[in-house]
Amino acid sequence: MTREAPQEDHDNPPQPGTSDPAKPRRRGLARRHLILGGGAAGLGALAGAATLLPGRASDGGAPPSDMAAGQAGEPHGTGTVPFFGARQAGIDTDAQAHGNFVALELRPELPRERVGALLRLLTDDAARLTQGLGALADTEAELAASPARLTVTFGFGPGLVDLVDPAQRPPWLMPLPAFGIDRLRPEFSGGDLLLQICSDDPLTVAHAQRMLLKDARSFATVKWVQQGFRRAYGTERPGTTMRNLFGQVDGTSNPVPSSEGHEEVVWGAGSHPAWVENGTSLVIRRIEMNLDTWDELDRSGRDASVGRRMDNGAPLTGTDEFDEPDFQVLNTVGFPAIEDFSHMRRARPEDPSQRIFRRAYNYDGAPAAGQISGSGLIFASYQSDVARQFTPIQQRLDELDMLNQWTVPIGSAVFAIPPGCEEGGFIGEHLFA
């Protein structure tokens, strides 16, 4: 463990006033489990190391159940998320560190039945790869051996559903209405078939993507790929709200899988069901973030643009990230403490049905010529009904949102997410029924 020791000291300098002789040993144990342990023992140690990681101390760090899939003492790369089931994985799955979004365009004149063959092939690949097995004819099967919670989630664009069974196309499965703030580029928009490939390990993501695209090449061409990332596995406590590249705490009010409301927001309810039972929808917006003009804004201006404190994400009327904002509170000169133009005020619906579940990833591409930043957000939003839940929020933000000064939507795509499948079946089989 000599390689770890200096790193440990660097990350966790001794705290003044903590002279507990047991502490160094405990810290070492926790650290080892962070690196080696995905299992129950490792997570127990993780919870015991609450003071050592930034994040929500009050949350208790309850890990998502699928993180316990690794064996105690095994590297966390052995962790798996079940592939087969009523719903596709990768939505209610606690967001992995890396996510690639790949949109395919079906080849012209592709017959309907060939879409079924494609989905069977890709389902088989995903079922094996997510469980740490090489795909059939996998020339680099060793790269599949550490899935690190790999999930592959399939989404269908309008073109695919229309080809297979237009009668099943949900009315919202079409490009979003044009917004005034949009500067959409075709290379980040649309698509017939989406592959959302997420894992805590980027090498695993790359291999899975390569394998899936090898098997899709006779049927479809790549329309776009968006590569995203969050904090690396183990950097922060599970359940910590992510930060985007503006530095903002991003997604505090998100109905995460463990929260009340998530089920209805993502999977629908009796009065407003999803397009198919255990299905949902995914909107992917590529949001360019202008870090250079954002740099011109001081801290108070940044706080005001969102209505939350940059340091801990608390609303400007509260002290803790999860305090409810109070839009009635006025500041000393009589203006609302949370401005009417702030992102939070504008995004928050009066109608409680207008809620979405975000599973976003940062991107940080190469700067364009003469620039120094190429950053942004892959805003991935799940909801049972795009028109009822997503579009009204986006319309409000289009009309007025202080953040629009520094953000530009440059890509947009809408996909219907089909249900999961059981072993022997394939994703999308209900369209062929």
């Binding site: 060939r114 079924g116 063959a117 494609l118 069977r120 092939l121 088989d124 079922a127 094996r128 469980q131 740490g132 097995l133 090489g134 059939l136 004819a137 020339t139 099967a141 060793e142 599949a144 051996a145 090898k214 098997d215 090449r217 006779s218 049927f219 072993e423 022997g424």
Partner: protein
Amino acid sequence: MNRKIRTTFISLAAATALALAGCGAYDEGRAADQASSSDAATALVANETWVKAVDSGMTGAFGTIKNPTSQDITVTGASSPVSKTAELHETVMGTDGSMKMQAKQGGFTVPAHGELVLEPGAGHIMLMGLTKPVVAGEEIALELEMDNGRTLSFTAQAKDFSGANESYADIDGADMDHGSMDHGTESDAPAEHK
């Protein structure tokens, strides 16, 4: 490469990690389905089975054949409805040092409690004189004949694959490869026409 072949066909108890990686619970279920049409007494089980997609000519079929019985079983022949003939092939080093395919004399023996791994660059089932294109995503029916007079029927998924391009050592027109990946070229004539 010689060492690889020995590992695959002779020292089967020490099968490579690659082969073992394919033996998860998911595959067992699939294998059971695939083998369900054959008599349980034959006991050979095929899984991980796939075929290289090609437009015409010939192609290779690959997979793992397990023998859970306590007696050696030799695979003596193969057939498929998509090809006029099928042969059991091995890959050996030719006199010029390059790898060549040739018919496996006497067939492949699957040792008791062992397995036979058929993979590109090693042993495989050669489908010759394809009667139709083998298209990615199709399930291709295959049947193996055994020395005990029984047969094993299973299907193999057709996959686009860039490898498996070894040429022949002992067939007229020795430069002939497994089917080309160049879709749309119809120049590959069936083997018996060359």
